[in-house]
């Protein structure tokens, strides 16, 4: 067994691996998402809610108390970091196209944290009791999602979100999905939306989100600087434009009944689009971080 096979052994890919991104060497095509702008390169025309998703970083997962933590199996993770601004979202997006239709699987080992507050108290719905820590309630949500377009301009997003807290900072620990497609810059141009800075770009109205599965408590581990790597596997099917299954550590959830809303109109210039993004959103004025040890995307076509 060579080193690459060892690295792969922590995953369970479908037969054809499209990309296996380990962040000890560059960001591997995971980049900041930016909204669209006009035909003259004027970035002032980017929608307010899509202009500041922050550049991904390569992080050694270092903290003020213990220094360098490192990753599951290397030096560097891809880190998404929000601003300390309520509602702010950071993204990393990977842009592919499809050479077929069928099952698509994205897997990652990830960790999530709120930034440590040192020397001052910050609002939190969880009090420190020697086990639980306020930072547990200072993390908002992370999202894994797609942007797919095929078959004559039919566009849709498979979306999963782990909501750790609601917008009031209360613990919810729920998996969620939106029942509307993401507002696009074209929707804005057509007068359907005009969203403010730090609006939820995936689905801005909290009433457009539904829960699925039972509440799921992650491994938070008591302080904001102990990170534990969680395994996530998510299967979708682009032949039926549907969700299939989600696995988080030892919990497997059937997602076949979780709907995937289509856009009502058709989109050009996106033929065979297959984009994936991870995002992290803070619900309070504290930076939220999502660390990705590595990411594997595989298909059955």
């Amino acid at each position: 067994m060579n080193v690459n096979e060892t690295a792969l052994s922590k995953y369970n890919p479908l037969p054809r691996v499209l990309c296996f991104d380990t962040f000890d060497t560059t960001t591997h095509g995971w980049t900041e998402l930016l909204g669209n702008y006009d035909g003259r390169g004027d970035l002032d025309t980017v929608d307010d809610h899509m202009r500041d998703f922050r550049p991904p970083q390569l992080s050694s997962c270092s903290f003020f108390d213990v220094g360098t933590h490192g990753t599951l199996s290397g030096n560097y993770a891809l880190k998404l970091a929000t601003r300390p601004y309520p509602g702010h979202t950071a993204t990393g997006i990977r842009r592919l196209t499809m050479a077929g239709r069928g099952r698509v699987r994205i897997e990652t080992h990830f960790a999530f944290k709120a930034e440590a507050t040192v020397g001052h108290e910050a609002p939190a719905s969880v009090a420190w009791d020697g086990n639980r820590h306020p930072s547990e309630a200072q993390f908002g949500a992370f999202t894994v999602a797609t942007d797919i377009c095929s078959d004559g301009g039919v566009r849709y997003h498979n979306v999963i979100r782990y909501q750790n807290t609601n917008l009031d900072g209360e613990m919810t620990n729920r998996w969620m999905y939106p029942v509307v497609p993401e507002p696009t810059p074209r929707d804005h141009q057509e007068g359907k939306f005009a969203l403010p800075y730090a609006a939820d770009f995936t689905a801005p109205d909290p009433d457009d989100w539904r829960t699925f599965g039972e509440p799921l408590e992650m491994c938070v581990n008591e302080v904001p600087t102990k990170i534990n790597w969680h395994y996530l596997r998510w299967d979708i099917d682009t032949s039926t434009r549907s969700n299939v299954e989600l696995q988080l550590n030892d919990r497997v959830m059937d997602m076949r009944d979780v709907p995937v809303p289509l856009y009502p109109d058709r989109y050009g210039t996106l033929d065979n689009l297959l984009n994936f993004y991870f995002s992290v959103r803070t619900h309070c004025g504290i930076r939220n971080f999502l660390f990705l040890d590595s990411i594997l995307i595989s298909v059955d076509w």
């Binding site: 080193v3 060497t25 900041e32 970035l43 980017v46 202009r51 970083q57 050694s60 880190k79």
Partner: protein
Amino acid sequence: MRHDMRSTMTAVLERNTVVREDFATEPYELPWAQEARFFVQALEVDGPLTFRTEISPDGLHWCPLDDAEHGIDSPGLISWPVHAFGQWLRVRCTVGPGAAGKLRIYLVGKG
């Protein structure tokens, strides 16, 4: 694993950001980079803006890297190199009385 080619990475830390008071960019980690360079592009500027490199061991606590100040008072692009830093970098911008600007700020790392 051999790395025959050096790595490079460009982050756009601010994008058409209007500034009217002192600020610092978000913490950015470059633990892998041996050298870095800031670029500040003033799309519009009215009055003097001054920039200094700040470094941090943890992304929470900051100090100046050196005594160098980099000023801009007319539209254009300025740049300065950064050497021998800890792994967090940011820029602190001092906005003169009554001054304002619209900025793009880039950080380039190279390993």
